[in-house]
């Protein structure tokens, strides 16, 4: 889990998810809609910054695709806006004592968009496709852990795992697709509240109301167009001109441009913006240097300058949205202290200063701006950091995969499962691009994965967060707020702690 795709410099990095409890809508807009009632029908145009990678949900990995196709596909389970897993195609499920056998009971009357009923056979087909049964290569790594899928009867499916995996359930959100269909990528068929209509590259993805949706009363809208607009400025102008109705992740500075004529929804995304340091490289191999940098960076000022104050200061790799697992108080570990930073640098033998580079993906203005502020702040402790902007493709290949960099700034998207978030720092994890190696940490994470006792598991994860802070593995900056601007006539937007747009609840007010 992590950053996101190429394309726009849309405001705050890319990834969204939302603290379930308190932030879902911001109250002041609701007053305006007192008199009006939700109505059915209508069409909505929403800005999205990039093209989908694959329409086929099993092939797709981009968050930008999930964002749209969340409305078209459903898994056995589905996340609600609080990040809780809810039954979807399945109506209920059961996990065996040893945690190895999962039994799903299918919901009655769920239909694919082609009109066919969803059967156990379709479920089996879908899971086996994800396991890569015919190729031997799983489409998603988590499914390598599936031993077998069996159809118990027309409404019941049973999965057997090879090993215990506490976070496995979250993968059951993967789409259920009709068996025997082979045009998943051209004309995908799902079970969601909207059906796929068309995709024109670089232009739009259009979805339309699924009249047969099994949840009563939704969706409201007849048609939704996701208009692909990589340029934030054009998106803003289009919103102003009324050509688009919803602009998600608009970025705070643009709200100032828009003024009062629109409805805004904002809240925390489940995202960790951080500046990593390549730990195997000098001088970052020295924890004192990393700490010094942490002391030198003034996160509050960054939040003020870059996010206009709308961001949540972080101390470790976990957003407070994940409040069950979130370790409080870490964000103040390294409050600005220039003296201390200088001292630490001196102790580490770098009193003459350090010259280094901060690499940032050029398409994320948010990170680029952050880099500028940090570079300025670091100069106060004698660290001369040059900013190097790299293309997204290069960032992925050279920095993320190749780990060839000094420092870089990126946003890591949160997932529903804490393991998925924290496993990134395990020494043999493939995307451990910080080069962080700490056996104690590895052990914590591995233990947590198979810990069936929920409260113990929570403790293990909190401990892991503390270690990351102490080791100053990175400069944890903030979880920037996620703001949505939309036409005043629209309402019903739900914020998720995931990178999705749920269009089913959106409606016009009459």
């Amino acid at each position: 889990n992590g950053g996101s795709e190429s394309g726009g410099n849309s405001g705050a990095g890319n990834t969204a998810s939302q603290k379930p409890e308190d932030h879902s809508t911001d109250g002041k807009e609701d007053k305006g809609s007192d008199e009006k009632k939700p109505s059915y029908g209508g069409e909505v145009v929403m800005v999205v910054p990039q093209d989908p990678d694959y329409l086929d949900p099993h092939m797709s990995a981009a968050s930008g695709t999930l964002e749209m196709m969340f409305n078209v596909f459903e898994g056995l389970l589905k996340s609600n806006e609080k990040g809780e897993l809810q039954p979807a195609v399945a109506s209920s499920y059961d996990i065996s004592e040893d945690g190895l056998t999962y039994t799903f009971k299918l919901r009655e009357g769920v239909k694919f968009h082609n009109g066919n009923d969803v059967t156990a056979e379709d479920v089996q087909y879908s899971i086996e496709r994800l396991m890569g049964k015919d190729t031997g290569q799983p489409l998603k790594t988590a499914f390598a852990n599936v031993e077998s899928v069996t159809t118990i009867n027309a409404q019941t499916v049973e999965l057997k795992l090879k090993q215990n995996d506490v976070s496995f359930l979250s993968f059951m959100t993967n789409a259920i697709l009709p068996a025997g269909y082979d045009k998943h990528n051209e004309a995908p068929i799902g079970t969601g509240p909207f059906k796929f209509v068309e995709y024109s590259p670089n232009q739009r993805v259009v979805i339309a109301k699924n009249e047969d949706y099994y949840v009563e009363g939704v969706p409201y809208l007849d048609k939704v167009e996701f208009r692909i607009m990589p340029d934030g400025e054009s998106s803003l102008l289009a919103l102003k001109a009324g050509e688009v109705d919803i602009y998600p992740r608009i970025g705070d500075e643009r709200i100032a441009e828009l003024g009062d004529g629109f409805r805004y929804v904002d809240g925390m995304q489940n995202m960790v913006q951080l500046m990593t340091m390549n730990i195997t490289r000098k001088p970052f191999d020295d924890v004192k240097v990393r700490q010094a940098i942490n002391y030198a960076v003034d996160v509050d000022s960054i939040i003020e300058l870059i996010a206009n104050g709308k961001g949540t200061k972080l101390g470790s790799n976990m957003s407070p949205v994940m409040d069950k697992y979130f370790q409080e108080g870490l964000e103040n570990t390294y409050n600005v202290n220039i003296e201390k930073a200088k001292e630490l640098l001196k102790e580490a033998g770098y009193e003459d200063g350090i010259t280094t580079t901060i690499s940032v993906p050029s398409n994320y203005k948010f990170h680029v701006d952050t880099a500028q502020v940090i570079a300025d702040q670091l100069s106060q402790v004698g660290i001369k950091a040059e900013i190097e902007m790299v293309e997204w493709a290069v960032w992925l290949e050279r920095i993320y995969k190749g780990r060839d960099y000094n420092m870089t700034i990126i946003g890591l998207t949160g997932k529903l499962d804490p393991h998925e978030v924290l496993v990134r720092y395990v020494s043999d994890y493939k995307a451990n691009f910080y080069n962080y190696v700490n056996p104690a940490y590895d052990k914590l994470i591995n233990d947590a994965k198979v810990e069936l006792d929920d409260s113990k598991r929570v403790e293990l994860y909190k401990e892991a967060q503390k270690i990351l802070t102490q080791d100053a593995v990175a400069v944890y900056i903030m979880d920037p707020n996620f703001t949505i601007a939309m036409d005043k006539a629209l309402d019903g937007y739900k914020l998720y702690p995931l990178y999705v747009q749920d269009m089913s609840s959106i409606h016009y007010l009459k």
Binding site: A62, E233, A238, K240, A241, E243, L396
Partner: protein, 313 residues
Amino acid sequence: MHYLWRRSVSLIVTLLLVMMLTFIVFRIIPGNPALTILGMNADEHQIAALEAKLGTDKPLLEQFTKWMKGAATGNLGESLKFARPVSELIWNRLPVTLSIAVLSMLMTAVIAVPLGIAAARARGKLLDLIISSLTQLGMAVPSFWMGILLVLLFGLMLKLFPTSGYIPWSEDPLGALRSLFLPALAVSIPQIAVVVRYLRTTLIEQLELDYVRTGYSKGLRKSIVIYKHVLKNALIPVITVMGLLFADVLGGSLIVEQIYALPGMGRLLISSIGARDFPLVQGLVLFTALIVIVINFTVDILYRLLDPRISLK
């Protein structure tokens, strides 16, 4: 060798060179298509599977020769990112870019020619000064800034035209025209400036030539001398310049497409470069280069046809 023959051969050589340059670019720049398509969330299995599917695990030279072989038979291959035939993608984008180019060319012709004539006729007078200053300004304003200013003015303040998006001609011709008007205007402003200046200079040059005096010595009226004799001579080089400008727009309409969120070829190129979508980039480059070269070629032929002094041999 016959002129046409020679030109055609050099056209093909140039195209081959373009393709090789593009290939070299791709050899050199870092970035992996599968990784870029899937992003940070992808796991290795997905990437490996995708690479195998796309054929990007093979050496680039092999991909190149395979692609070239296909291209020679008219098959431009399939886009890595969009998983659609490259030719189809280009074909879908062409109308936008072509419309902008054609529209802006029309605007240029309609506006620049009278202005150029007026400036030349009023040489040294106030009108000339005004036109010349405006054209200087037109050439100096950066196109992206101009694009933004136009949006602000016409799109937001006067609300005359949509600020972004494209409506296909087949759906709503008037809407299409409206949606393309501002971009075409943004493109044409510097062009108008160039053409006006060029036309003015050639006209003034031509006006000094002896045949003009001959025209007058026959008793012809000033307007006849200017429109029949001088303009015809002056337009020949101007047409060449307009052809080059046309090629320029087709080859580089990127910034307007970006500002006006138009699904044109420039944006497709940017996104395909960003995705390291080798077949699509190759296809687009081949196509734009082909257009540019063919237009230059046509302009050249046209020039030779219009100017009786030069023969096609």
